[in-house]
Symmetry: C2
Subunit: 148 residues, 2 copies
DNA sequence: TCCTTTTGTTAACTTCGGTTAACATTATAT
DNA sequence: ATATAATGTTAACCGAAGTTAACAAAAGGA
């Protein structure tokens, strides 16, 4: 288990790599509005936790484990975001802010229950949805995102 | 604005005072599973923020402002707790743990929206519930609590 | 090539929220 | 009334997560 702060770094690294391919300390610092020194510390911690590979002055690579972790973080965000935006009808920008704040604090079981509830209420999947955050990315949430 | 940590101390002080009348540093430390030294620091911070009155070796008194603040913290907890327990049907103990973790991070507007949603889904108040977390304690949540 | 700019690292420091241990004060029991 | 127990305070410390500033390394242009 890593801290919320490190989770944010990992998530940012994962997203930036998908968007931009390669990625530098400076990119992360800009995206997260923090100093390069903070990023440097963070990536060394992530390395200690085997979530990324990194050598001094080298390139940042996410490990298998790190990728799974990052996906789970994003998945948790999606579950909360979709609930706030499409069930509670909270405006997108506000829903985004709130989802970012909450997602880290929810247990797997709560996230699973919330996902199933949202799917049911929105008619996105049948009642006996067997979604499990630890097994796979939520197809219905993904579909919603892809459809706008 | 005080930190989440200080909010927890304030909430605990408020609840203990309601339950036990007077209250000591030791009581707070026991309830929060922390050292008396931590409590001492916290109450001095709360005092600086005018949320409690305290003199060295004296008694701990909550100010008007502190009481309002504590009530709001409890209210936020209730809103999340009732949603988790009665809408998502999460088991009480788990709902309690999760509500404790989330409540601090939600904005007033999200809390209001969530409260109204819960009331509507549970049929606890009419659709045009004008509940506002900053104005008063939620009567429907209170009623639910009192009725078990 | 080599000089300059960009990028990355490190050291020293800050704040927050906690700890333990030593000490001070207050309360209690005989 | 006083010894002892309980309670409260303070000092010195820790780790997490950030900062700035100085320095090191890499990249790019003339």
């Amino acid at each position: 288990m890593i801290s919320n702060s490190l989770e944010e770094y990992l998530k940012t690294i994962y997203v930036l790599k998908i968007q931009n391919g390669n990625i530098r300390v400076t990119d992360i610092a800009e995206k997260m509005y923090c100093s390069k020194a903070s990023v440097n510390k963070a990536i060394n911690h992530l390395k200690e936790n085997k979530l990324i590979n990194y050598e001094t002055y080298g390139t940042i690579e996410i490990t298998e484990e790190g990728e799974d972790y990052a996906k789970k973080i994003l998945e948790a965000y999606d579950i909360v975001y979709v609930f706030l935006k499409d069930v509670l009808n909270i405006e997108a920008e506000e829903a985004n802010i709130e989802a970012e704040k909450i997602k880290q604090n929810l247990s797997d079981t709560t996230l699973n229950t919330l996902a199933k509830y949202t799917h049911r209420v929105l008619g996105l999947s049948n009642l006996e949805c067997d979604y499990d955050i630890n097994k796979e990315r939520c197809r219905t949430c993904v579909r919603r995102k892809n459809n706008g």
